[in-house]
């Protein structure tokens, strides 16, 4: 009984944390998107501080195309991470711990795993692209905090994918159990 109360409290905290992270990532994505448009259309000086000191002015001077690609990658990854947290928030809204195995929750979990795998692959590709640009002599700030680490997301995606498969089996067992007379 005590364990259940503690689990409920942990889940409530996780729910709040995922809401906060979701809103934070949406703000981050929106802010980078806005300053990206400003840097392209209004004032290229915005490339010096795109978001919290992100300075890509050297890259902008080197090539507008590469600059746009890198910033679009950062925006895309940030948006996808926000989408993952949106799915987590949706799970918290939909899940019923008395009958947790529902097809809605299973499809949300599998979607999270696919998006996490996509984020992992995109991050690895982005890091490789940035390394390639650095080798061509472009002075780059450390983009690790903006792009993130791809390996971790691949691992996370893989683990969630396995959990999604177990969850699907759980649904089958639950429906069999419900249809046992």
């Amino acid at each position: 009984m005590k364990m259940q109360t503690r689990t409920k409290r942990v889940l409530a905290i996780l729910n709040i944390v995922s809401w906060v992270l979701f809103v934070g990532l949406c703000i981050k994505t929106g802010a980078i998107l806005y300053s990206f448009f400003v840097s392209l259309a209004i004032n290229s000086e915005a490339t010096r501080n795109l978001y919290l000191g992100l300075n890509l002015s050297d890259l902008h001077r080197f090539s507008g195309g590469h600059y746009s690609t890198v910033v679009c990658l950062i925006i895309l990854l940030s948006g996808l991470k926000a989408y993952i947290l949106y799915l987590v928030v949706k799970i918290f809204l939909k899940i019923n711990f008395v009958h947790p195995f529902s097809t809605d929750v299973a499809s949300l979990i599998s979607r999270i795993s696919y998006v996490a795998l996509g984020v992992g692959i995109l991050t690895l590709a982005g890091n490789g692209y940035c390394d390639w640009l650095t080798k061509r002599g472009v002075a780059f700030p450390d983009l690790q905090s903006y792009l993130g680490a791809g390996g971790e997301f691949l691992l996370l995606g893989g683990i969630i994918f396995m959990i999604a498969q177990v969850f699907k089996r759980g649904i089958e067992i639950q429906s069999e159990n419900e249809l046992t007379v």
Binding site: S175, E176, L179, T180, V181
Partner: protein, 69 residues
């Protein structure tokens, strides 16, 4: 599913309604309906025993194997 439930046939032979059977075997109408319509995925031996006792029949009278064509 190749297993066909002939509960409705046996009930008609014994002239027993679903409500009456439900009271005799102590099963809910919803569960009996699942069994009657062939939606059930499994039947407990205790349920089968109670139904056979109430309808005075054998398990083979209620369950039938029909190969899919």
């Amino acid at each position: 599913m190749p297993i066909v439930v002939n509960l409705d046939v046996m009930m008609a032979k014994r002239k027993m309604s679903l409500n009456e059977l439900s009271e005799k075997v102590d099963l809910t109408l919803a569960n009996l309906s699942i069994l009657k319509t062939g939606k059930a995925k499994a039947v407990r031996f205790s349920t089968l025993e109670a139904i056979c006792k109430a309808l005075n029949c054998q398990p083979g009278d209620i369950l039938e194997y029909v190969e899919k064509g």
